[in-house]
Symmetry: C2
Subunit: 425 residues, 2 copies
């Protein structure tokens, strides 16, 4: 391996998680152990967008306690973005962006680049790696996996997922016993909508709240991977209420009907990536149930709270997230580039894991779904195979310091680097 | 005071809270200290509805650890109901119900009756007390306050409220820094809708997430007590985004426009108490903002989670809830009837409180609102007076045991009493 000495740049992208900052902490702390390779440790503000604007900060100016505190602090400590370098849809802009990125890399002698994110961000990492090779700019690029959606391929699971389902399962358990305690002969239904546009990992994870008890909520979990016959679903809700006087249902936002149409889609609106905006699955189902069964139905829409709820984060997840950041730096210093760190499950009981590398070309833009064989035959609940998979991921509690009854999260100082380039055109 | 020896019946009513079970635990444990007065300790399942059906359980059959565990267990451990004995709207049914209740009381020699609930439930307690006097059935009736809405009068605050705002403020803080970390020049808005039909106590309580920092989320808090000019609100959102690149807004479900109309009301639907069903304030405001400001806006609807989230309960709140249950039993054993237990604030810093009694005739059906002088002049945030009031209520963390990464809540055995009466007609 050729020695490479220079500066490191780390940034975050896409929707935050409760533990994405732990990956940054891990990367920064590991970089500090390699003064033979890493000279300065920079952070890019708001992901690629901030790097394009040369908005960089000096992470060695941060207090050590602040960096350590990132391990219990939610959101993106460096800021994040949804900006995509899109060679397919906007080839001219993408080419300009790539030129600008390398101007910034060169101006600040960036030789190590780490990007924590989901599918789109791994794609960005791959493109930057390929461009670096093409342009002959010696720089090592490693992607750090991050997404509550858990839809990255090849990694056993994604940092952020364990905390998301620990929080979601806790909430579903608590709402479930609340609704159960209100249950009288009138019957009632509660629908909890969780994130998951095309992969149902978060919804599926709430099955842990049942602790294996068929009578315990949630009684029905709908995943975007399946297609549901609404009449069969109504029958299932009716049966559940007949048996228990109430029904708690968890739905992923992207669930579809028998014809494959998204139940909660508003096809008239699109987000920055061109995906349809989904926010109405629980509301649509509430209307169906109230009309079909005349059953009082309430909804809960966890929204951003499920990716931000560090007060209920999984210690296993936080440890894995930090390890992914560390492993990324170790791999780069050892000469690797063009890989994503992945989590390898060595065994489920007792749970043992390690990290490894996977070629970014096999990661970018590939989605990983809940396997059909992990879902019950009738499609209404994940089965024991899923439970075995998910159970270890929520173990352990992250303890943030508390001040005045509320978590005391870390805010970085963000000492700005002097800009060396003219503003982005 | 005349000695009164007989059985005790305790029940829960209305929407649960994270700590209503702590009141039951306090009452049951206190009753155990008065064998000279209380012979058997019964629970009524699902409130008045279960008592009408003679669905009673023997709480002395519960394990002591289970009763103690109620102090960290959310929902209504005895079950609850929204059934109302309504002498105004259904006088015949109400008279029949009252006859039946006293048949049950007499069949089981109930001499102590405790009912934990909000406004409607305190009204029920009052009526039962008055009927007992009228019928010459010697029975002592004490109401135990409970409501996350915090809208009972005369008590400084209600058990359940502190935990609701600890959870809501934690969530708003976490969602706030998440949204803030995503903030780029495009601007964004997030609206978090919390419970509160006519009183804005929960929405107001999320101001604690700011920790006094004007730049910190939430930036705007809308209360049902006020009337909002939508154009002024849009201006405020625009200013906030101009200043911080994002805006986090918390809204109570019952917020109203300049003309006093509920912004999120669906006037076509009514709940069991005849109130309009409200669930759309955040959605309506999202539509306004996206149309008026072209700003991407997301919503979070905490729903039942804000009253069930015992994993984030306030230790102060749980202790007060338990003390209210204990005080109710002490008062009744001492000869009192026709009162509600209230919490008296002795001082805010350091926080000191005690319990006292208040005549139920002055409590029932009276709502307590956030005072105008606790809200900023422009109406968009609670002020320092409110903060001083709310701050102590969220102090301390309730620790439920954890098993497999999720809280391990108590489920009562519910040993049924043999029925002595024919079924309810």
């Amino acid at each position: 391996m050729a020695e490479l000495i220079g500066n490191m740049l780390v940034a975050q992208s896409g929707g935050p998680t409760a533990v994405i900052n732990a990956s940054i902490a891990g990367a920064v702390q590991e970089a500090g152990r390699h003064p033979e390779a890493v000279e300065e440790i920079y952070g890019g503000l708001n992901g690629i967008l901030g790097i394009l604007n040369e908005d960089l900060i000096d992470l060695q100016e941060e207090k050590r306690l602040a960096v350590e505190g990132l391990k219990y602090t939610p959101a993106a400590g460096l800021g994040t973005c949804r900006y995509k370098i899109d060679f397919k849809k906007k080839p001219e802009q993408a080419a300009k962006d790539m030129d600008r990125l390398f101007e910034v890399f060169q101006a600040h002698n960036i030789r190590y680049f780490f990007y924590a994110g989901g599918n789109d961000s791994q794609d960005t990492s791959l493109k930057i790696h390929e461009e670096a090779v093409k342009r002959g700019w010696e720089m090592r690029v490693i992607g750090i996996p991050k997404t509550i959606d858990n839809d990255l391929p090849h990694t056993d699971h994604c940092p952020g997922y364990g905390s998301a389902i620990k929080y979601a399962a806790t909430t579903v358990m608590e709402v479930g016993i609340d609704v159960g305690s209100m249950a009288t002969d009138d019957g009632s239904c509660c629908i909890i909508e969780v994130m998951g546009r095309s992969a149902g990992w978060i919804a599926a994870g709430t099955v842990l709240a049942k602790r294996g008890d068929p009578a315990a909520p949630p009684h029905i979990i709908l995943l975007p991977e399946m297609q549901y016959h609404l009449q069969e679903l109504m029958d299932k809700v009716r049966e559940t209420i007949a048996a228990y006087k109430y029904c708690v249902m968890v739905v992923g936002e992207g669930i579809r009907d028998r014809e494959g149409r998204e139940i909660g889609a508003d096809e008239t609106k699109r987000d920055a990536f061109g995906h349809p905006v989904l926010a109405g699955a629980a509301w649509k189902l509430k209307e169906f149930i109230e009309a079909a069964l005349r059953t009082k139905t309430r909804t809960v829409l966890l929204g951003y709270s499920q990716r931000a709820a560090a007060h209920c984060a999984s210690a296993t997840d936080a440890a894995e997230a930090a390890a992914c950041g560390e492993s990324a730096v170790k791999a780069a210093v050892a000469g690797q580039s063009g890989f994503m760190v992945k989590i390898v499950r060595e065994q489920s009981q007792p749970y043992k894991w390690s990290t490894a590398l996977h070629d970014l070309r096999e990661v970018a833009n590939v989605e990983h779904f809940v396997p059909r064989e992990w879902i019950s035959e009738d499609g209404f609940l994940p089965n024991e195979q899923f439970v075995e998979y998910a159970r270890p991921l929520i173990e352990g509690e992250v303890k943030a310091p508390i001040e005045g009854g509320l978590p005391k999260y870390v805010v970085l100082e963000k000492a700005r680097l002097e800009k060396k380039l003219p503003p982005r055109a």
